[in-house]
Symmetry: C2
Amino acid sequence: MIRMILALVGAWLMVLAMGPKVVPLLRRMHFGQTIYDLGPQAHKSKQGTPLMGGLMMACALLVTTVVLHPSPFLGKWDFILALLLVSFLTMLVGFADDYIKAVKKRHEGLTPWQKIAGQILIAVVFSVYCYFHPLVGSSIDIPFVGKTWDLGVFYIPIMTLVVLFMVNSANLQDGLDGLLSTVNAVSMTGWAAIALLMMVQSIDLHLAEAVTSYASAAIFALALVGASMGFLRFNRYPAKTFMGDTGSMLIGGAVVGIAMLTRKPLYMLLLNFTLVGSSVSVIMQRAYYKLTHGKRIFKMSPIHHHFELCGYTETQIVSMYACLTAILTLVSVLSLIRY
Amino acid sequence: MIRMILALVGAWLMVLAMGPKVVPLLRRMHFGQTIYDLGPQAHKSKQGTPLMGGLMMACALLVTTVVLHPSPFLGKWDFILALLLVSFLTMLVGFADDYIKAVKKRHEGLTPWQKIAGQILIAVVFSVYCYFHPLVGSSIDIPFVGKTWDLGVFYIPIMTLVVLFMVNSANLQDGLDGLLSTVNAVSMTGWAAIALLMMVQSIDLHLAEAVTSYASAAIFALALVGASMGFLRFNRYPAKTFMGDTGSMLIGGAVVGIAMLTRKPLYMLLLNFTLVGSSVSVIMQRAYYKLTHGKRIFKMSPIHHHFELCGYTETQIVSMYACLTAILTLVSVLSLIRY
C-alpha cells in the first residue's frame, strides 16, 4: 500500500513543483494554443495559453510508476510495460500534433490520416497483446450481471475500434478549463479501485503473478490521479496552461489501457460516460447535419460547448461532469464488491 | 451492495428533483441570507440568496437511510439510529439559528450560549453512547501505525469537545459557494470506504451484528455523498441557495458521528483536514489578534476568506480544497487496506 500512497502523492507533488517553472517556459517557447476557429466566441481570449502542459503529467506518471513498481524484476505478464507503452505511444501522436500546431503555427497539426494511422497501429498491437495475455484474453465482463462475454477472435478488431474511439473521445472532451483533468481524476480513482479489488481477489486465490500485475495497474492509475490533480492547479478556470493533445491522448490511452487489461472495457460506458458522450454528441451532430442538410441537434458539439452556449459557465459544466462521473464511478465500483 | 448503490443514487436524484421546487419556495418565504457584515465586500451581492437549502439534503438522507436500512429489524447495536440522531439533533440547533436569522431578520440568530448548550448536550450523550457501545469503546485508532490508543474514561470529555469542535468547524467552512458540499462529497466517500472496509473485516471474522452496523454506516455515508452532490447543483458558484447552519451542522454531526462510531476520530485530521483548518485559522487569528493587540496573521479568517482576499476566485478555492481533501482521503483509505 505504501507504494500506492507514494505514487499518488509523489505524482501530485511533482506536477505541483514543476508547474511554476514549466508553464512560463512553455509560454516563452511560444507553445501557445491557436484557438479553434469553430469554438465558442468566448474562447477567443484563450489565444496564447501555453499548450503541452500534459508533458508535466506524463513526466510525473513515468517517474512514479517506474520508481514504485512493486517487483524488482518485471514479471512476464506484468501490466506496467503495456500500460506505459499504450499511453505514451498514443501521447506521442498527440505530441506530434501539438508540436506542429504550436511551433509551426499551422492550426491543423497532423493530417487526420496521419493521426489515425498512428493510432490504428498502436490499437492493433495493444489489442493483440491483450488477446494473448493469460490474465486478459477475449472475454470481457458485463456490468451488474456478473457474467462475461467472449468475443472470440472478434476481440481484436472490436477493441482496436474501442481504442481509437476512446483516445479521440478524450481529445474531444478536452475543451474547457479543468474539464478533462477533473473528470479523469474522478474516474481514474475508480479504475484504481477496480484494479485493487482484482488484486485482493488474486490474493485470495493465491495467484502471485496476478497480484503484481493488478498492483502495478493500481499504482499506474493512482499516479495518474495525483498527476491530474496536480495539473488541475494550473489548468482550472482560468487556465494557465492546457494539456493539449499531448495530455488528452495520454489520458485516453491510459483509460482504455487499464479498462482492457482489467477485462472491463464495457465499464468505460459508466466510469468514462462523459468521455463517450463527448464523442457521441459529435457523431450525432454530424450525422443529423448531413441527414437534414444543415440542421443541428446541439448548438455546438462536443456537448460541453452546447451547455456553454446554453448559459452554463465553464466551472458549472466541470462541476456537473464531475458529479455525474463520481456517481457512475461509485455505482460501478460498489457493484463489483461481492458481499 | 444494491442498497448502497440505491442510497447514493436515490439521495442524489431526490435532491435534484426537489431543488427546482424548494429553492423558489424558500425564496418566497423570505428565507434569504443576511450577509455577515464582517465578510469580504464581494459577498454583499449574495444578500437574499435563500438559506436552509440544507433541508433538502436532510430530507433525502433521512428517507434513503430509513428505506434502505439493511435489516428489517434494528439490531441492538446498530449504528443507524445513533448516526441519524447525532446529525439531525445538531442540525436542529442550526435550524433554530437559521430560522431566527431568516424569519425574524435578526442577524445574530441564537445566542452563542444557547447554541453551545444544545451542542454540549448532544455531544455528551453521543460520547457516552459510544463509550459503552461494544463495537466502539474508549480506544481510538491511530493513523498509519496500526495501533490503538485507549483514552479510558477521558474518552467522554475529550470526544465531547471533538464533537463541538467539528460541528462548529463545518459551520465555519460553509462560507463560499459550493465549498462545504464539494469537500463533504469527497471526504464522505472516504468515510463510506472506511465503513465498507470494516464491514468486510467483520464478515471475515463472522461478526454478523457488526456487519449490519458497518453496512448501515456505509449506507448513511453514501446517501450523504449523493445528497451533497445533488445539492451542489444548486449551491455551486453562483449559488442559488445556501445550506445554512441547518446543512453545515447536519454535515458536521454526520462527519463526527461516523468517525467516532468507526473508532477513527483521529482520521478526521486527514479526511476532514480543511474543516479542521477552518477552525484552527479562526482560533489562530483571534489569539494572535489578542496577543499583539490588533495584528492579524490572515487577511481574514476562516482561511478561505484569506485566500479570497489574496485574489483566488471562489471556484479556485473550492477546487484547491477538493483536491487536497481527495489526496488526504485516498491516502487514509489506502493505508487501511491490509495487503
